[in-house]
């Protein structure tokens, strides 16, 4: 388990980044008759990408994620993760995937935070010294070394989530699947986590699939975004900048673009010469200064 997950053999079809997740036109019917139909665009994730799944409440983000994890089995449509159908061959790929679900309470398994983070490596039979080293590394990554000896059940909501994340990261998975990882985190922790995910993607090539409502962070934390409409259709995909330009489609999907995007849109409405949307503060400042200078020049 000490080998780099990226060396794992996979079936790369093209010279570009290999496809890690592929979902096409999935339909899921829950027992009570509620149907989620994730059709429209295909949901494709390539190695090393950080992909955000956006969509209003009840649009099917969690349902999609459960299918990726083989927790639900599709009647219609195809799901492939790391080259296999997760509903059939989950045990084969399990060790390569790290997971944090939406409700973290029930994911904390052990009597102390350290034991909890050590759960997977121990179950996979790693030597104890390596287990301990990995646990410390994972706790440090999330800045929760001080919670090490606490009892997970006594932690605050956000602290629990960080512990669950540490437990998912400890195996250095090649694919991370996170359902609303930012829920309940304070803004500083969000930034920390976003930075961490970016570092994982660049340094280890970790692929990340996450659902989120935190639109404002999406430009920072994802390379690529999919947007679900109410009812589940996948209606938009692209880089965050591309996606947030399509304000109309977004509005249909009950999604508000990030504040900066809104600001620039409003500015554009008020002043024809307004700058093009910029989605990070630095770029926005640049754009605004340029806009002012330009107008100063012309005015």
């Amino acid at each position: 388990m000490s080998t780099d997950p990226m060396d794992a053999p996979t079936d790369a079809p093209a010279p570009v980044a290999e496809t890690v997740v592929h979902v096409s036109c999935l339909r899921h019917s829950y027992e009570d008759g509620t149907t989620v139909h994730l059709c429209g665009l295909d949901f494709v994730v390539r190695r090393g990408q950080r992909v955000a799944v956006l969509g209003p409440n009840g649009s099917g983000k969690t349902t999609l994620i459960y299918h990726l994890l083989g927790l639900l089995r599709s009647r219609e449509g195809e799901v492939r993760v790391l080259g296999v159908d997760p509903a059939r061959a989950w045990p084969e790929i399990r060790a390569r995937i790290g997971v944090v679900l939406q409700n973290v309470d029930e994911q904390l398994l052990a009597p102390t935070v350290a034991d909890d983070v050590a759960f997977s490596p121990r179950q996979y039979g790693m030597p104890e010294s390596e287990v301990l080293a990995r646990v410390d590394a994972a706790l440090d990554l999330l800045g929760i070394a001080h919670l090490k000896e606490r009892v997970p059940h006594n932690l605050s909501g956000g602290e629990k989530r960080k512990v669950a994340l540490a437990g998912a990261l400890v195996m250095e998975p090649e694919l991370l699947v996170l359902d609303e990882p930012f829920e309940g985190l304070d803004p500083a922790s969000r930034d920390g986590l976003a930075a961490l995910l970016e570092r994982l993607a660049t340094e280890r090539g970790t692929t990340v699939v996450m659902s989120t409502h935190d639109i404002d962070s999406v430009p920072e934390l994802a390379d690529y975004a999919y947007v679900l409409a109410p009812g589940g259709a996948i209606v938009l995909s692209g880089t965050p900048a591309e996606v947030f330009e399509k304000a109309d489609t977004l509005a249909e999907g009950n999604i508000k673009p990030p504040i900066l995007a809104e600001l620039f849109t409003a500015l554009g409405r008020a002043d024809a010469g307004a700058p093009r949307p910029a989605l990070s503060i630095d770029r926005a400042v640049e754009a605004l200064l340029a806009w002012k200078r330009r107008s100063t020049g012309t005015g």
Binding site: E31, D32, G70, L71, R73, A87, W90, P91
Partner: protein, 271 residues
Amino acid sequence: MSHIHIPDGVLPFWLWAAGWAIALVMVGVAGRVAGRSEARRKVPLVGVVAALMIVSMSSEIVPIAYHVNLSVIGGILLGPALAVIAAFIVEAVLAMLGHGGVTVLGLNTMVIGAEMVLGWALFHAILKVIKPTRAGIGAGIATFLTLAVTTTLVVGIVWIGGGGEAAERETGALDPSTLRFENPFEEGLFEFGLFGDGHGDEDEDAEGERYLSVGRFALVVYTLGPVGWLLEALVTAGIIGYVARVRPRMVFEGALAEEMARIPGDETGGH
């Protein structure tokens, strides 16, 4: 009321030993059967049902002598094979907590297991004649009947074990003389009993009834029983009616249905 709250040592050895033997065979067979199907993914359900039964058996509704068992609910949700395993687990945990006793664990498993299996069977029999929308009522009826039968089973067990001289032999030391304080060096210098009648060997002939009065037990069980059965039936009806509406397959198929969350491949996984 059908759970035997008989502590250890009340029943004769042959009876509880036989209970253990039967229970082990039941669990063994059930394990086999469950193992053949895709049992692994039902483990959390077994866990929850067992836990619910333990919780409910440990919380009273009516101040005295009644608590919900939820055993019929468990039977309906788990189906016969897993029900027996759940019964065993419930009794093992309760025994570990001193509620029920270790020697009578086998008998208790038998009774609760029988209750769950019988409840399941009756429920499905009743389902043949009523509409699925009335599942709750069906479950209620099944519960009442089941409890009537298993309570009789319990009284039978107590009767078998309670009257004979075996009990006397086995429970030998239950005697107020226990409370006599005697000086080991000066025998008979001072002695007294906490409850006044501290002279244990004066009424030998009355001893049999002192241990366990079967008649009184049966009386209590059969007078309070029906009230308890009715309450249990109402609770069962409510819960099963609810689950039947929300997760119909859990009730009608008695196990996890196709789409329900699980990790596939587990049937082969593990060991």
